[in-house]
Structures are given as C-alpha cells and as structure tokens.
Symmetry: none
Subunit: 202 residues, 2 copies
C-alpha cells in the first residue's frame, strides 16, 4: 500500500519522534509540527496510515501509536559463478549458469563483478583457503598490493598479490611460504580483475 506525500511526511515524523523520545507524539504535537489547527486532520492521517498498514493504534489511548516495521528488501545481487581459479591453472569453463548471491556491500563502484572459486592453498597466508569464493571486480589494471586475478600467456589464470617493480617488471606474490613469487613483464600478463571480497561456507 503506497503512501501519499503528506502521509509519508507524517510517518517519517512519527518514526523520528518515537526514535528520539521513546514514545509516540500526541495528536497536538503532530498538529503543531505540521501547523494544523484541528486534531481531526491528524486523526484522519493516522487512520489512513493505519488502513495502509504502516502503523497500529489502540483505541482512545494516549500516544498509542505503534510503527509497524517495514520488511527490508534484502539488498543483494546475483553474480555469475564463472569457474575456479588456482595457482597455475586456467579459469575453468563457464559453469552452466550457476550464480552466487552476494551482499551488495561487496560490489565496488562501477564495473561488472563475478565470482570464482579458489582451488589450492596458494593464498592461505592471506586467509583464503581452498574452496573459498572470491568476489572479483573486473578491471584491466591494479594497484600495488591488491589481490588480482591475472592471466599469463593467455591461458593460465592465478590469484596473487600484485606488485609493480621497476622497468615494467611485475611480481606476482603468492601468500604461502612454500611457494615462490612469479616475475613477469607487464606485456606478458593480463589483469582480469581484483578481489574485493571473500565468502566461505562451512
């Protein structure tokens, strides 16, 4: 049940008053706040709000207005689960339309996003383990220290930390003491995106 402009104003006055004082305003206070000279006007508005289900009222009770909590629409986005990525392994073929729902707080500004499943333990020291899902923001470039999805020679995708060194040399640093960093020239690498979030299910 949608509200009119006035009704929305009144409702927001009710919520802010109730939130600030711990109890609902009286009819007279509402009338004052909106410049009404008749309480009948207040009564009518409240009746309409009640009819539309935004508040509940108890008959003839002073300050007997209760705001019905509006059910919040969960803000989330379905992102495609494009495949798996591991040290030295290519991104597997697109899985048949699988998706993962991700809180929208994970999406980073513009650009498209997708989800990959991490295979292997090359990033354990960055607290990413085998089987974790990483949310990737699609990009062609990265800043130092960011975690990137990088493709080498066009056929081998990995997740690594990105460090630009001198003369166009790039260091791809695994986060696992047992593994060595990879050094490549910037022409031999293509950044697929950067990791902006991690999800893990037990």
């Amino acid at each position: 049940m949608p509200l009119t402009k006035r009704q929305r104003e009144i409702l927001s006055y009710l919520t802010s008053y109730t939130e600030g004082n711990g109890y609902a305003p009286s009819f007279e206070e509402i009338a004052d706040a909106f410049g009404y000279t008749s309480l009948a006007t207040v009564h009518e508005h409240l009746s309409n709000l009640q009819r539309k289900g935004y508040i509940k009222r108890s008959y003839n009770e002073s300050r007997g207005i209760e705001i019905v909590p509006t059910e919040v629409t969960p803000r989330a986005i379905e992102l495609p689960l494009l495949g798996s990525v591991a040290a030295g392994m290519p991104i597997e073929a697109v899985m048949h339309g699988e998706t993962l729902t991700v809180p929208d707080a994970f999406i980073r500004g513009s650009g498209s996003h997708y989800v990959l499943r991490v295979r292997g333990n090359s990033m354990v020291d960055e607290q990413i383990r085998d089987g974790d899902f990483v949310v990737v923001n699609e990009r062609q470039s990265a800043d130092n220290g960011e975690m990137v999805i990088a493709m080498l020679n066009g056929d081998s995708a990995t997740v690594k930390k990105y460090y630009r060194e001198r003369d166009g040399r790039i260091r791809l640093q695994p986060a696992n003491e047992a593994l060595q960093p990879i050094y490549v020239h910037e022409n031999d690498i293509s950044i697929q995106g950067i990791v902006v979030g991690v999800l893990r299910r037990y």
Copy 2:
C-alpha cells in the same frame, strides 16, 4: 509479458522516483517528465503496465502505484549484526539495528542466525582474520571440531574450535600458534552458536 520501449521508460521512472521519494509520482508529474499534455496518456500507460503485471494500482487513489517486486528476487537474508566477538572479550552491546545481507546458501537448516564481527587474530590459522564477519547459527551444543561462539562464566564470549575431552572437560582451541587452548568444564561454558560462514570485504 514483454514491455515496449516507452513502457520500460515509464516503469524505470516509477521505480527511481519511488525509491528516491518514498512515494509514487502523481499522474501530472509523470506527464511532465515525459512531456505529455494529457493525463489520459499516463493513465493508459499505467493500465498497460498493470495488465502486464509490472505494477499494481488502487482505484482512484492518489499516488496509488505499487511496483511489483521484480522477477529474480535474489535469494538472500538480512541478518542482524549483533556485535563483535574476540578472544577473551564479551560480545558488545547490540548495535542499533545494523544488519548484513547474507546469501541464503549460508543459512543452516532451522534455528536463527546472526552475524558477528571478529576482533583480534586468534583464528588466523583457520583463515579468519581481524575484521571478518562470521555467520553464526544459534545453538546450545556443538560437535567436535566445530567452530563455536562460547561464553565462559556468563560474561566472556570467544570464537574457538570446540573439542570435547573425557570427563566433561572441554578444550577451546584457538587457531593461532601464539595462543594457548582454554580448558573448562562443560558446566562452566555456554555455547552460543556455531560458525557456518565467513564474509570478508577488502
């Protein structure tokens, strides 16, 4: 039921207006936005949108347009963010109605769930770091090896791995080489829930 170009334009105007103002636009506002000189045009478009099931309208009611929730509603749940938990620290007071949206794949069967923010590095060896969000399934008991939110002596909540040893003795194992396990009797501990998921934002 597909929409025409014009209908889609109108529908997107409706959603953005409604989202921004908290109430639907009036016919006149719609007419202004699209340069119509007759409200009958607006009326007809809205009738078509209603016939195709994209909006609902109440007869003769001011701003009585309701947008029907779109096709693929992302499957997610808003869980309350109850506070922080750290080694040896109590769960902080309930934060004022903060929530975090979580993919519904994270919820475990029955029982209520909530979210806590992890403070400290007691679980780094389990790939949980300072600042991560853990999804907790509310429970009174746990199985060996599960990660639990445990409260000791009624005032100190921690996240640890749970191991039941003999004679009712419980070992709460941190996942950090630098920290020692805690041994308690099962009577001195209350399980708050078990960790079923981890979320991290970079």
